[in-house]
């Protein structure tokens, strides 16, 4: 099994249309239950908006702290899952379900192998 990160991508300052939020939350709950029961769940969660992010650069020893996300782009990471999948095909299928559940596109990336 390989671990994949499924990242939820949405526009900055995104807000669900009325009704969509309840629907998405219920669908995501159902998806979470499904992957928990099938043993594919590793971790998952939603993030506060990118405007509440902070970047810390400790390369020079003392921390250089900057308000806001690392890059100002229109699309930002809104949350993510880490799942176990046998291969890319299975990960893509999980991502399809995840995307349909949360009503956003989902980016799939495998974690580096241990070897």
């Amino acid at each position: 099994m390989t671990q994949y990160m499924l990242s939820v991508i949405h526009p900055e300052d995104f807000a669900y249309a009325p009704g969509d939020q309840e629907r998405a939350f219920a669908q995501v709950d159902a998806f979470n239950t499904e992957i928990l029961e099938s043993g594919r769940w590793v971790f998952g969660g939603g993030l506060v908006p990118p405007s509440s992010a902070t970047v810390v650069d400790g390369r020079s020893g003392a921390a250089v702290v900057t308000d806001g996300p690392y890059v100002e782009v229109k699309e930002q990471l809104g949350g993510f899952w880490v799942v176990e999948a046998a291969d890319q095909d299975e990960a893509l299928e999980l991502a399809r379900k995840a995307s349909a559940a949360c009503l956003h596109p989902v980016e799939v990336r495998a974690f580096q192998g241990e070897g």
Partner: protein, 416 residues
């Protein structure tokens, strides 16, 4: 014998009301930080604390003109605002009301302390000036929450649209909540660095007000606000740099009345020193002397000491330039910067002549900084190198937008 016969016209009812309303507004503004800071700790919610403080102001404006101003207006406002907060929670969410009520009723003792100082305003200023917030947001939050300035006032002072400022403040408050920026005084080992961050915000606010050109009343008020906040901080934290910053602000502010004439900037050597505010100068000098006794020098204290030397001289020719240069040497050791070197060079010109000073100035990489061109212009002028001086004035004029300074520089250039 009365000076004038007949009944003396007293202030009208309307004038009295206006006076009381002004006094109430003044008291409420002075107490705003304390009220909001206490409520944030008890309620854990900045927006609710602000709304409740605003409700308490409305109540004060209704009641105080008739009932008189209470003996301890700060405590009255805090209690009233606390009750208003509970009313608001009741209206919006029944479940939390009991908890809030309990917090308001029982929590009259100082909270359990995480840092060396207890006042809630200190927690609030460290939260507002947290490094995870952008510097301009630290400034806006400090003025809003501790200073009690309205969003419109802050927007006006920083020359941005009100909607922009409102969004900036809302986002910052959201970030405090979302990212869980702590509401506490930093631990002793972090205090020094974090305090420097707070002082930088206060000095920034002061300079925004001080460096503004004339006729921008609200911007001048920023200096007054910065002095008041620094005074409060100095009363809460026993730290020589806080006292040093306060002294630096007072000795700078004292010269404001002499700083412009007919819309043009008047430089220190030409100012009418009788216009300086003697009370502020005295207070600044007392603070500088106290810092010297403490003997833990820092950049603000040394800058205050430099200003103390200037404000000690009855006229510019009596300035103790050797001491000024010595203090700049100390400042350079504490805080090396080409801008400090430039200021030092200006003092060196008085001691060792313009040639020596110009050789220092010309080594500095400050061509984008208009005071560098001004310093060069003045030195070249004294060396009778008028064409070069004129070119330097021109370059300085291209780089500054401040009208009072432009008027001054134009006058200097045209008098060559």
């Amino acid at each position: 014998m009365p000076d004038s016969p007949g009944p003396v016209a007293g202030p009208s009812r309307d004038q009295l009301d206006a006076t009381i309303a002004d006094r109430i507004t003044e008291i409420v503004r002075a107490e705003h930080g304390r009220v909001v800071a206490t409520l944030i700790r008890r309620l854990g919610d900045i927006d609710l604390a602000e709304d409740a403080a605003a409700d308490a102001l409305v109540t004060a404006l209704e009641r105080w003109p008739a009932d008189g101003i209470p003996p301890n207006p700060g405590a009255w406002l805090t209690t009233t605002a606390g009750n208003k907060a509970i009313d608001r929670i009741r209206r919006e969410n029944k479940r939390d009301a009991k908890y809030a009520e309990a917090a308001m009723l029982t929590d009259d003792t100082p909270p359990p302390d995480h840092g060396p100082v207890e006042d809630d305003r200190l927690r609030l200023i460290f939260t507002c000036c947290h490094p995870a917030l952008a510097p301009e947001n630290r400034v806006a939050l400090t003025l809003r929450l501790l200073g009690g300035l309205t969003v419109a006032e802050i927007a006006h002072a920083f020359l941005v649209p009100e909607t922009t400022m409102a969004q900036r403040i809302t986002r910052s408050k959201q970030k405090i909540k979302n990212a869980k920026i702590p509401y506490r005084v930093p631990r002793a080992e972090d205090l020094r660095a974090r305090l420097d961050g707070v002082l930088a915000v206060l000095y920034l606010i002061f300079n925004e007000g001080y460096l503004a050109s004339e006729g921008e009343g609200l911007r001048a008020d920023l200096s007054t606000e910065a002095v008041r906040l620094t005074r409060q901080l100095a009363a809460l934290v026993d730290d020589p740099e806080v006292a040093g910053l306060l002294a630096l602000m007072l000795l700078t502010e004292a010269r404001r009345p002499a700083r412009t004439a007919d819309g043009a900037l008047v430089t220190l050597d030409e100012q009418d020193r009788s216009l300086w505010d003697a009370t502020l100068v005295d207070e600044g000098h007392r603070l500088v002397r106290r810092c010297l006794t403490t003997n833990r020098p820092g950049p603000y204290q040394v800058q205050a000491a430099i200003n103390a030397v200037h404000t000690d001289a009855l006229d510019a020719s009596m300035t103790d330039w050797a001491q000024v240069v010595q203090l700049y040497d100390q400042l350079l050791a504490l805080q090396p910067s080409p801008i400090v070197e430039l200021n030092r060079a200006v003092a060196v010109a008085e001691l060792d002549g313009p040639e020596v000073a110009l050789s220092i100035v010309d080594r500095l990489d400050l061509a984008a900084y208009h005071p560098w061109h001004v310093a060069r212009a003045e030195l070249l002028r004294r060396m009778h190198r008028y064409d070069e001086a004129r070119a330097a004035y021109d370059r300085a004029l291209e780089l500054t937008g401040n009208e009072a300074e432009r008027a001054h520089l134009t006058g200097r250039r045209d008098s060559l």
